[in-house]
Symmetry: C2
Subunit: 166 residues, 2 copies
Amino acid sequence: MAGAKLDEIDRRILAELQADGRMTNVELARRVGISAPPCLRRVRTLEEQGYVRGYHADIDPRALGFEVHVFAMVRLISQSERDLSAFEQLARGWTLVRECHMLNGEVDFILKCVSPDLSTFQRFLTEELTAAPNVASVKTSLVIRGAKDEPGVPFDVVEARARASA
Amino acid sequence: MAGAKLDEIDRRILAELQADGRMTNVELARRVGISAPPCLRRVRTLEEQGYVRGYHADIDPRALGFEVHVFAMVRLISQSERDLSAFEQLARGWTLVRECHMLNGEVDFILKCVSPDLSTFQRFLTEELTAAPNVASVKTSLVIRGAKDEPGVPFDVVEARARASA
DNA sequence: GCTGAAATCGCCTAACG
DNA sequence: CGTTAGGCGATTTCAGC
């Protein structure tokens, strides 16, 4: 089972750093109840083993002028692995596309997009996305308002599972 | 225009902190070409003015045992503001739901969910989400594979717009 | 008003027990 | 894992542009 090698201190370290990635190591150590040096060693190990992929400032898109958020459902003509990969590669190059996930069911991909305004998005939609090779159809849904946007992982579930398997 | 009050140094600070939120202030100052004290002041100001909402470690969900990612499209019976808000409030309480966005069109909400396994998600889906008051229907799509998941904002677009309006 | 320089304080991070 | 200790970064103060 993944995550089984982590003890409770490791899990608390991850939870604290997810909540505040710029916390000092001393403060982190205090919160998890150990001294600073072993705490730092644990953090380095967690980073090396891939539990922590990075640290990012959470920038407000609207403060920088990205007023428009859109989900785009993309259907492709061909679902061969070659063509799926080709579309993914294309999506990685579009900076307005922040996320791209392959789905089961009728829709092949869901894309989460941001844009400064509608006309910029419309231009991207018609000239880039819909015009891309192998794209059969694109259905877009504007985000009217965001109700929840939590980064990362629910650590209450992590803890519940850890206790259950103990 | 939002973001107009930022000069190029501010934008570079935001871009650097988005890419590496744990960078030291000294390193950040070096990269943007000013000395540490004014750099720190700018960071504090950007935080206070809401450009930076926080800092988060990017934890790999799979490393912690979250093997399942699902998008859920929710239709409600009533779309009155009172009922929309009630559903949003409910969604904020479900920790498996990481994002909840209100959409235009037929679907009222899209939810991004994580789960340790399918059975846990099925239980959540049938006992919580579908069973919630005012929910008319829920369509779920499993994420087969993630192709792109970039946090935050495309700073190439930010820079292009800044140059265009200069 | 900003920036940069100097100084203090606290943290990071080895080495060792 | 904890303690010690040296070096570096963070942060305030103050002067200059």
